[in-house]
Amino acid sequence: MSTYTLNQYPWWKYLLIGLVMLWGFIFALPNLFGEDPAVQISGAREHIAIDASLQDRVAGLLSAENLPHKQLELEDGRLLIRFTDPEEQLKAADILKDRLGRDYIVALNLASSEPGFLRALRLSPMYLGLDLRGGVHFLMQVDMDATVKQVEESYVEEIRTQLRSEKILYSSVGRAASGGILVEFKNTAERDKAVEVLRKNLRNLQQDKSSPLSLKLTLDEPEIREKRDFALQQNITTLRNRVNELGVAEPIIQQQGSERIVVQLPGVQDTARAKEILGATATLEFRLADEENDWYQAASTNRIPLSSRLYKDREGRPVLLQKRVMLTGDSIIDAASGLDQQSGSPAVFVTLDGKGAKRFEDATKDNVGKRMGVVFIENKTETKRVDGELKKTAYTVEEVINVATIRDRLSRRFQITGLDSTREARDLALLLRAGALASPIEIIEERTVGPSAGKENIAQGFRAAMIALVVIAAFMIGRYKWFGGIATAALAANVVLIVAALSMLQATLTLPGIAGIVLTMGMAVDANVLIYERVREELRNGNTPQAAIHAGFDRAFDTIIDSNLTTLIAAIMLFGFGTGPIKGFAVTLSIGILTSMFTAVTGSRALVNFFYGGRKLQTLSV
């Protein structure tokens, strides 16, 4: 091989590199455009159509208020209204919220102002994390102990009923302190009878007969897992509905691990209200009224029958309900207010899920004509001053929101009537829906970034990245002259490719993510440094310039692969472990390492070949 043909790439290699860079520029392009303040309208429920007629209506409302808008767009089942000025955006959002009513979710949004052809290609700018765009991040934990407790309590009642109907003498049934259900007996013979009965009728309970006068029953693993999973899913659904109430453009509500839920609300400024709405957890319980005992006597003497509990209704009147829970709120799929078709009086229509329906049918069929109460349980926190210090205490408020007579065997769909007004019906429906939560949740992590702080973070990050690029460029050119210039071009190409990859993957860019990009810049030139130092060495060893270039790239390659792969291992570990912003760092670092191998090795090789390849060089200034 002659040294003249040493450093030449075939045309297709240039073409390939050109295509990759073209891809990079196209995908990075949307990031060059700013964002328009916008208002986004979507349906609060599935059947609400977002169509041209709504578009006309909104346009009419806006022009009636003299609010100029840039553009109205109908896409993906939502209506996006762009404004030029954030003031107009806020005003328009208030007006639309008021006029459109509760059927629509009106949310503030920032819409990329990229030109239509980019949007048509479905290209979007990088997805900014909450630390860059402002907003709230909540990590919520579902109280799984409470979930299991609830299940066990319903079994306690079930067992009591079973034993009674089989006439087995027991001295007590209750939840054991260490978990599980403990049934105590007067003698072993009775216990053995119970063992048989319960084994037959409640076969999913594990029995522990180690002590002669008692029987311990525990839920089996699959059932606990199922209940926990259900509790989590139920909470996610409820949170989703509540977030809709808040009007957030691109909320994220997702499961994390087995008992946690992440809620991210970009752009939310009023965090107190967000927490109020998200944090007010509630559950519902349907219980039969205790009609054998007198509530008045129970309330005044404070002697409450063992199988019952004394509650208060919304007006503070005492109500005596049985302890046994017929149905919990997690079985409710929907509750809507309306008018009873026969009487025309206000009513609430309740829909249950399959399991709940079955359970409710069994529970109500023998109780037609009896009264049933709905207990609304709210988990609240209170700030109190104790000895000069503010103390928060969690407490529950239990309230009977409705007592009605069971007219028929109740199943999948039933209605609650006898309500005084349509307002009462609406309130009850709202409470039933809000109470359709499996178990209490608690906020265990919160990160809020104000919108201006987010903007400042972007500005600082962007400036730091730019200056780092300039400083490194000066450093490389100072040391390697033209070759330094080539390294700088490769570095700039690397940044374009990182931005393109982030935009394409829609990976979240965070402030540590920007730090990752800056760090990658420093590390990306390492490949060039390795190559150039090698070229210098080869020159010193008396090689011709072309041979030195060839050997430099060739021999440095293994080292570059080794050193980059080890860094990648660390970055991947970071990704696996990291949460939120840290994950953003791992993402940009990993992407940066991969793209830098391409730009610093293949890209700069192409430029070197283009400028130096095939020429007769006497000296090489590197």
Partner: protein, 312 residues
């Protein structure tokens, strides 16, 4: 045009090998002692609690803010300026039984209600429950351990076990040094710093691997010379690269330190310390450790099949 060159350096690095290792052990003992006796100034991410960053329209005195907070029942809050004299950072330690979800709003309202506080805005608020913090400590340690094991396996596979052990020794050295620095100078150690420490692991190995690559190459190429000479020679040959890359990375992190905002400061400090110590350790610790572990020429000679590919 400036230039610095290290072509013809012939520094007998490994002559100081024993001294370097002794010195490193001493420094590490100090770092570990500091970690044991002084502990870490762990940030909110790990301890749990609440941090609120607020911005005043005008510069504000810390004692005034402190007083307002004390009156509002936040006597346990720590208050300091953050960045500028208009920005105030308030830390509130974790409270028992407290669902601290509304704590940040209470603090903001208290500040806004006080004299001169009408224009106070919240820049950032973070609340981390104690259970989350404990998990993050555990996961962080696991990630660091995982990265080290992954790299150990890779280097063993690519090189030889003594060099792998040397690499890991150098990397562990860098991690303990960096973490020890944060302990000794009581700099807050939060999640971003942890990320930086993991990046230091990557960087340190990256730096070391280049030296090792050259050692291996020279072992195969040169038939003459003792192990010590070849190692020294390799370190000298890669010296200008080591310094150039360290400087380039250092420059980018220094830019980040000054321009990346207060949030990135801890991250930048960890990276700066890590890069400096990583450069030192890849020169001294990695090769010296392999040397004292008794590495020999045969350990690095190519297997029969590869010999044919060797260049003269």
């Amino acid at each position: 045009m400036w230039r610095f060159d290290f072509y013809n350096t012939n520094i007998d690095f490994l002559r100081w090998g024993k001294l370097a290792i002794g010195w490193s052990i001493l420094v590490l003992l100090i770092a570990i002692a500091s970690l044991v006796f002084q502990g870490m100034n762990l940030g909110l991410d790990f301890t749990g609690g609440t941090v609120i960053e607020v911005q005043y329209p005008e510069p504000v005195d810390i004692p005034k803010v402190r007083n307002t907070l004390r009156q509002a029942g936040f006597g346990d809050a720590q208050t300091q300026h953050f960045g500028t004299s208009r920005d105030v950072l308030i830390r509130i330690p974790p409270r028992d039984e407290a669902n601290a979800a509304t704590l940040s709003n209470d603090v903001l309202h208290a500040l806004q209600g006080a004299e001169g506080g009408a224009g106070v805005t919240m820049a950032r608020a973070e609340f981390v429950g104690p259970q989350v913090g404990a998990e993050l400590v555990e996961q962080g340690a696991l990630a660091a351990l995982g990265a080290l094991i992954g790299i150990l396996i890779y280097v063993m596979f690519r090189f030889e076990w003594r060099l792998a052990v040397g690499t890991i020794a150098a990397t562990v050295h860098d991690v303990i040094f960096t973490v020890g620095w944060f302990s000794l100078f009581h700099i807050e150690f939060d999640l971003t710093v942890l990320a930086a420490v993991l990046a230091v692991i990557g960087y340190s190995v990256n730096d070391t691997v280049v030296v090792l690559d050259r050692i291996r190459e020279n072992f195969r190429k040169r038939r003459k010379g003792s192990i010590l000479e070849i190692m020294n020679r390799s370190i000298n040959e890669t010296l200008s690269r080591t310094i150039m890359t360290s400087l380039a990375t250092l420059l980018s992190v220094i830019v980040l330190y000054f321009l990346g905002g207060a949030v990135m400061r801890g991250f930048s400090v960890a990276m700066i310390v890590g890069i400096l110590v990583g450069t030192y350790s890849s020169i001294y610790i990695a090769s010296a450790s392999a040397l004292y572990l008794g590495i020999s020429r045969e350990d690095l000679l190519p297997r029969a099949k590869e010999t044919a590919d060797e260049r003269p």
